[in-house]
Symmetry: C2
Amino acid sequence: MHFGKVLIFGVGLIGASFARGLKAAKAADEIIGFGRTPKSLKAAYDLGIIDEVGINPGADVREADLILVATPVGQMPEIFQRIAPYLGAHTIVTDAGSTKGDVVEAARAAFGDKIGQFVPGHPIAGAETSGAAASRADLYQGRKVVLTPLLENAVEDIEKVKRAWELCGADVRILDAETHDRVFAAVSHLPHLLAYALVDEFARRPNADQLFDYAAAGFRDFTRIAASHPEMWRDISLANRTALLAELDRYGAALMRIRQALVNSDGEALASIYANARDARQNWSH
Amino acid sequence: MHFGKVLIFGVGLIGASFARGLKAAKAADEIIGFGRTPKSLKAAYDLGIIDEVGINPGADVREADLILVATPVGQMPEIFQRIAPYLGAHTIVTDAGSTKGDVVEAARAAFGDKIGQFVPGHPIAGAETSGAAASRADLYQGRKVVLTPLLENAVEDIEKVKRAWELCGADVRILDAETHDRVFAAVSHLPHLLAYALVDEFARRPNADQLFDYAAAGFRDFTRIAASHPEMWRDISLANRTALLAELDRYGAALMRIRQALVNSDGEALASIYANARDARQNWSH
């Protein structure tokens, strides 16, 4: 598998690592970066991550074999609208959004008849670090990338996107968009919301300094994801709000069961919940 | 500061690391270990962590300069009752319990007139690893140890316990027991409960395997503490249930505010909470 011209919209950690992965595999002739801030594009260019800083996407989109949109999901609708008129007959568009239902909806609205050229994707490689400078050619090595293909996609186009990620070292999985959004609401979006809620709540208290002073290793790991990008997680929360609300309510019910055990001083119920969690967590190897 | 005979009840990670720290500082003549399981005491003896496996505490307690009770808090009342009749006039007892209100209450019940000889303490050095084999002489290096002295304590006795921990490398702080329990309900006990609740809830679902399959680094760190010892955390939850319930309700209210923002698709409110948490978490250096 080889790509001629590859366009990347949003040359942050995710987009830049994809570029580096393809370059390391010698799988692309030319990689052009687009983004909102000329300064960070220039930095990516200076680091050799992209071959060119894109200015006006028209001609480049027409000639592109592959376009990755790797911005926060909130910016994707506008980018899809912007590139839709220029898509070449052979151009495949994919994305790196953490939610898929909303991205597919925006893609349908923008691409219309050409929706078959859009293969939705989600690389599972978030980090609190961000920006092209933090990117690595091996970021996707052994990481999962989920594709949520559309009925309109040609099998060979899905295969091309799959191969592009595999060239970056990824383990590519296929899910439908709805299942994707439900699974990630549970295992990723909810934990972020829970960690943000805890740290925000502590930070607003009069004795916040005292609390943070005595917080130790358990707190450190539990709240690591609360250092994630607020704008990105606002977008994800809104984009996947239906599934996220369902997860939040389910979790709230679980907390109420523990609360009841505490109120009743029911040590057996607590120990049973804790032991079940401990066993599951220990059996889960990442 | 030098101690003659030191007794340690519960030679697990915490007790054994204290023994190793004192030995490394050449601050004790003899360290005797007591515990429920002869096998693990024998192992601690074989590793050179204790000088003797204690059998009948009577005579040893009478001669001891310092006694550390480092069992789960649920076992402390019985141990206090067992040693109370034998306390020498110069013997100081301290503990390593994660909660202080309940431990002090149990100590008052057991020691009666001799309560002044009990200086309550809490080393902040939990870990998912446990057992004497995981212990280290430098476990307390740079870690906080909180003492919550009683009005009945002699200043020089508080000072002796403080020095013992400092010889292990710890940064010793003083709090009253109630403040201690409120602070640790927030920064330690609540996060454990929240992590246990999440993993238990996932593990009970029909699609648990799928969820754990797609869980990634964020989930890994968020739930690391759910691998902690269920019996120990049941004891802590019950011992500190009043403060823990207050924290849980406060957190529930915070979740309800986020829920409302999600229901209203209020991106501004979400971004403000997330950004406040991100700033606080980034400013917190551990």
